[in-house]
Amino acid sequence: MLKIEWLKLKRYKPFWILMTIYPASLFGLLFLISRTIDRQASLNPAIHNAVDKITAFRYPEVWTTVTWTASWFHFLPCVLILLNVCNEFESRTHRQNLLDGWSRAQFFLAKVMVTLGVTLVSVFWVALLATLLAATHSSPPSLEGADRLLYFFEQCLIYNFFALALGFLVRRGIVSLAIFLVYSVSLEFVVFGFLSFFLRHVEYYAPLRLANQLLPLPLWKDVAKRISPDAPGMEVLQAFALGYLVLFIGLSWWRYHRSDL
């Protein structure tokens, strides 16, 4: 199945562009921040002393720094997943796949596997970048705090399967992309903010906000706890994250399985 998806993707230019932009943007941003701090430190002894205390690019904090920063770039793999699904509908190649021997379940599973693959590649880049950054800051290798990668993996899964569901539900590339961007930037905040008037604290359980809460910025964590004392704990977040994954996959399959193609 993955071989067939690979045959479809290997000559698809947007795939390579997005797969390159994602790590390049992340590498670029983090190295820029890191180099800027180092440069300022070398120019000013006072800053140098302060920088010495900054541990963001050393183990174990580097895992949190990189995963949290990477969480701002989720939209790139999501765009790739949306295109991967919607292109099949728009060019009706998914029908041809079925005529040529796949069942609906096989086609759906192939897209789920691509989504999982993209998620794993994202995690790989983040792990590699954290290791490289720590190495450039003379931090001895350590796996302490590497559980952040697992939370990042979960966060990616929620975003990516949200995109997959949107692709299967909407089927139109431009429309689903617009919905994804509007929803992630403002619509979720507005909708769940409105719902919170009727259902207390429901805003904490909005899917993308919930995913973001899996990786809070550590410097901000204590402040956030004071501002939002009712925010759900990690176990609750995990349970809801799993629920959302099941919901997104279930909705996508239901729509694909129960409709004319």
Binding site: T93, L99, D100
Partner: protein, 325 residues
């Protein structure tokens, strides 16, 4: 640039070349069908609604193994809907269908759908993988539809006829026992249409079953062994082509004395319809009720020597128009 231009304006080598005996593709040698049952596809009470519109109404069909089964009908009659359902692309509102078990199918439904950024060959590689076949036979497939010289061209640069050819080539990869073709001659020039006709005959010669939807009646009449005629989602007639065409026998007769001949024929115990034609009489019997030789004998006994006696068969077009008008 010139190369692309020439392809868009006119495909210079647009011949579909049936390749008898090509390994990995279809061949002229008979391939034993896995099922010896009478029908390869059985459709029962199939219905499809789009809101209040009934696209298909209680369709029953039996497609015999080894036949070339034409599904005919005017635009909007439900041909593509019917094929879409049996190919599991559309969901039926009611009814059921059953393919003979273990059959491999190749199908072209409506338009050719391929990945525009991939070449013709790369698209066929995906088809071969989907069918669980290796890449053997891809070159033959491209050659047989006249696209071997254009295999490295992106699908997006193909002309409509080339796209259709690629789709036909794709249906044949992996030696399917059943080939479903929905309007396969769309976009093809007369030579291409003749090639498709020959290809369909070759498929039958190879023991395969072909399910063909078309509104090109003369084409269907030339190749089909069985037909079903649809109108507004209903099957008006179906069966072997000859049976569908022969709902009556129309004999054209002439003698020196047409009036006496007409009077004699009107006394015939089978009570045929006798109509005046141009310098002749048209005598219409129920299908199979009267052989030309028997009519000749009857006329001779009645004192009329026939100078002209012809059994006129209906064309599929006339029968189709009669049923669908």
């Amino acid at each position: 640039m010139n190369f692309h231009k020439s392809c868009q304006e006119g495909f210079p080598e647009n011949r579909i070349r049936p390749t008898h005996g090509s390994p990995g593709f279809y061949s002229g040698a008979p391939i034993p069908l896995r099922v010896s049952a009478l029908s390869i596809l059985s459709v029962q009470g199939l219905a499809k609604n789009y809101g209040s519109t009934q696209a298909l109404q209680e369709v029953n069909l039996e497609v015999p193994a080894g036949s070339i089964f034409g599904v005919l009908g005017p635009n909007g009659s439900g041909k593509t809907t019917l094929l879409g359902i049996v190919l599991e692309i559309l969901l039926a509102s009611r009814g059921s269908f059953r393919w003979a078990p273990g059959l491999k199918r190749g199908a072209l439904l409506e338009t050719p759908n391929f990945y525009s950024y991939l070449t013709g060959r790369e698209n066929l590689e995906i088809v071969a993988e989907l069918r669980g076949r290796g890449r053997d036979g891809l070159s033959q497939a491209l050659e047989s539809v006249g696209l071997d010289s254009y295999e490295s061209m992106p699908f997006s640069k193909y002309s409509l006829g080339m796209k259709q050819r690629l789709a036909i080539g794709a249906t044949l990869i992996g030696q399917p026992e059943v080939v479903v073709l929905d309007e396969p001659t769309n976009g093809l020039d007369p030579a291409g249409i003749a090639d498709v006709r020959q290809l369909i005959r070759d498929l039958r010669g190879g023991g395969k079953t072909v399910l063909l939807a078309s509104h090109m009646l003369d084409e269907v009449e030339k190749v089909c062994t069985h037909v079903a005629i649809l109108k507004k989602g209903k099957v008006l007639s179906q069966g072997p082509l000859e049976d569908v065409l022969r709902d009556e026998d129309r004999l054209e007769v002439k003698s020196d004395d047409l009036e006496a001949l007409q009077a004699l024929l009107q006394k015939h115990p089978l009570n045929p319809k006798v109509q005046r034609g141009e310098g002749c009489l048209n005598v219409v019997f129920e299908a199979g009720a009267m052989k030309p030789s028997e009519l000749n004998h009857y006329c001779l006994e009645g004192g009329q020597t026939l100078g002209h006696l012809v059994l006129r068969k209906k064309t599929l077009e006339s029968r189709f128009l009669e049923l669908t008008d």
